[in-house]
């Protein structure tokens, strides 16, 4: 187990190295320059380039970046002068992480309940209604939902604050809902089909023959069997949340890394773009690793090797 985790962590570092390399060179293709103030004199521009090491040959810039990254130094932002990228991200990451975690937990739990309710009422009204809801939840992008929520609960019936972060918990409610809908819908559909399969399985038939009630069968057999496969969804759902959160943070003025990422692109703030990309990749890979470990702990059939 520990050997396996170590192996996966090494693989993770190697993958991050690839991500850095690819993003670094892609960044060079990006048109424009970060210093596009027309008032800058050629001397000042040259001065700036020297400060940020942009006058060095490309391979040297790349090496410098790698060496820095290995030490946790991701350069300084062009946009917020003299602010190290690691510090900028460090301040904003907890905000995004909290939002993502809240959305994931709310979404998955809601999905488990709705999926199970759907399966147990297969083909009747409850199932049909939940089917429509989950189809909508999957097909409507979270930012549209965010805008609708802002309009409905911010302006029509102003029940919740629609912007900011950190002053009160109620600020987190609308963005969490906007982000949670998609994972909730995905989980609902997945749990529904897993549960239906489980309820039709031979071991449920045997559980009935033991004299267990429908409720005992669901609680003691069907639930565990249909929840284990849900773990495999958490990786892809986390990826969806990362991309979803960039726009949601914009809409609700949340000072997370998503917002910063979006702002850094038009201003060609290369170090911030790079840093954020790396953080996103690392978070995603860590999530997948965690779900793999969880699966191995919960599912007796899975062995890590």
């Amino acid at each position: 187990m520990w050997k396996y985790i170590l192996k996966r962590l090494l693989l993770l570092i190697f993958t991050l190295f690839l991500v850095i390399t690819v993003t670094f060179f892609l960044m060079q293709i990006m048109p424009g320059t970060p210093f596009n103030n027309p008032k800058l004199t050629p001397e000042a521009l040259a001065q700036l380039k020297t400060t940020y090491g942009l006058d060095l040959p490309l391979w040297q810039q790349y090496l410098n970046y790698l060496i820095g990254a290995a030490h946790g130094d991701f350069g300084t932002s062009f946009q917020y002068q003299n602010q190290p990228v690691s510090m900028l991200i460090g301040q904003r990451l907890p905000v995004s992480a909290q939002l993502g975690a809240q959305a994931l937990v709310v979404g998955v739990i809601a999905g488990l309940f709705m999926g199970a309710a759907s399966a147990r009422n297969k083909n009747n009204k409850i199932d049909g209604t939940l089917g429509v809801i989950s189809t909508l939840g999957i097909s409507i992008p979270s930012f549209i939902l965010g805008i609708v929520l802002v309009y409905v609960f911010g302006f029509k019936w102003p029940l919740f604050p629609v912007s900011g972060w950190g002053d009160s918990f109620s600020q987190t409610i609308l963005p969490t809902i906007a982000l949670a809908v998609s994972p909730a819908a995905v989980t609902t559909r997945f749990v529904r089909s897993e549960m239906i399969e489980s309820l039709g399985s031979d071991y449920v038939q045997l559980a009935k023959a033991k004299g267990l009630s429908a409720k005992e069968i669901v609680n003691q057999h069907a639930y565990r069997n249909s929840m284990i496969p849900v773990l495999t969804l958490i990786g892809p759902m986390a990826a969806g949340l990362l991309t979803g959160s960039t726009l949601i943070e914009q809409i609700f003025s949340i000072p997370g890394i998503g917002q910063q990422f979006v702002l850094s692109i038009p201003s060609k703030d290369f170090p911030v773009i790079m840093g954020t990309t790396i953080v996103y990749s690392a978070m995603l890979m860590v999530m997948i690793l965690i779900t793999d470990i969880l699966t191995a702990i919960i599912d007796p059939r899975v062995r890590l090797q």
């Binding site: 071991y203 038939q205 045997l206 023959a209 004299g211 007796p300 059939r301």
Partner: protein, 349 residues
């Protein structure tokens, strides 16, 4: 011996489907005596599993059973039970061994716990006590080093061992009736014999009655006291094992015996009965077997044969037993088999 613990009277089971009503069980009656093993044999689709599921109250949702059908067990008609009452019968008074051990255990639950479940449910045992009893049951069904394996999950076990666990689950609450629906078809031959012997031994200990479903007459001889032969949702012949094997009267029983594999290929042919069973959406008039029966009489296509008495324990529903019918002798192949069996028995004696 002939003290019935279960009486099935005029059982009909219909399934409502888009295509119409499938008449899967059409007027089945039989008794199950205390401590005996009754084998129900018949081709695929003859209604064996539907019969057993009905006895467990586990039929599919689209099943309907008319009011005159009765399953009498301990002074009550099981067909009158509410779902909650059924739950105290299932796994407690009547238990079932399923066919496929690879799929009938919950892959995510420890085997010991799966055996303990009926005890917790029906005997109101505490978890520790139930697990202690589960361990005894595991030893009882011959699981080696049971202590070391009580916390195993199904995937860690072979098919034969899993089927032993399935047997232990069925026996956990000490049921009066054990239903085994093809309990060994998913296992290879040597393991089959082990499981069958295990069931016989356990029956001697517990004195429970067994309904043993199979389409393999070969296993019946060693397992059962009596045999009921099913065809197209009806019992067409029943009697003691000796009566069915050595004095069968129904041409369908002849066909089944003829298709039975023997260790000795020179004797008898391994022939399946030609033709296919009738469509139970529209069962034919008269004797349902007539279209496949080379001995069919004119009356077979008009009127259904009643049961004719062969002995006190042996009845067959074929017009051939009517006094007006021409005398027919069983096919040559079967006669050869009898000769061979007698030879073997002589050698063994």
């Amino acid at each position: 011996m002939s003290n019935p613990i279960l009486k099935v009277e005029n059982l009909h089971v219909n399934f409502n489907t888009y295509a119409g009503t499938v008449q899967a069980i059409r007027d089945v009656s039989f008794d199950l005596n205390e401590g005996e093993t009754l084998a129900i044999v018949g081709e695929s689709g003859s209604g064996k599993s539907v019969t057993t599921k009905t006895l467990m109250g586990l039929n599919a949702k689209n099943a309907s059973i008319p009011d005159n059908s009765r399953l009498l067990f301990k002074d009550r008609n099981l067909l009158d039970l509410k779902e909650s009452e059924w739950q105290s019968v299932r796994g407690n008074e009547i238990a079932m061994i399923f066919q496929d051990p690879m799929t009938s255990l919950d892959p995510t639950m420890k085997i010991g716990m799966q055996i303990a479940e009926p005890l917790i449910k029906h005997r109101q045992m505490k978890k520790e006590d139930a697990l202690a009893r589960a361990l005894e049951l595991m030893k009882g069904v011959g699981i080696p080093n049971a202590e070391g394996h009580i916390n195993d999950y199904p995937h860690q076990w072979s098919g034969g061992m899993r089927q032993r666990a399935v047997v232990a689950i069925a026996l956990a609450a000490d049921p009066e009736i054990l239903i085994a629906d093809e309990p060994t078809t998913a296992l290879d031959v040597t393991i089959q014999a082990q499981i069958l012997n295990l069931m016989k031994d356990l029956q001697k200990e517990t004195g429970s009655s067994i309904i043993f479903i199979t389409h393999d007459l070969g296993v019946v001889a060693g397992m059962a006291n009596r045999v009921a032969v099913m065809y197209a949702g009806k019992i067409v012949e029943y009697g003691t094992v000796d009566e069915i094997f050595f004095n069968p009267q129904h041409p369908y029983t002849w066909g089944l015996l003829n298709s039975m594999p023997t260790t000795d290929t020179q004797v008898g042919s391994l022939e399946a009965i030609p033709g296919t069973p009738p469509d139970l959406l529209m069962p034919p008039k008269g004797d349902a077997f007539a279209s496949r029966n080379v001995y069919a009489l004119a009356i077979d296509s008009k009127e259904e044969p009643p049961f004719f008495r062969v002995s006190d324990t042996h009845y067959a529903a074929t017009w051939l037993l009517d006094e007006r019918a021409p005398k027919v002798t069983p096919p040559l192949q079967i006669q050869k088999r009898w000769a061979r069996w007698q030879e073997i028995q002589g050698q063994e004696a």
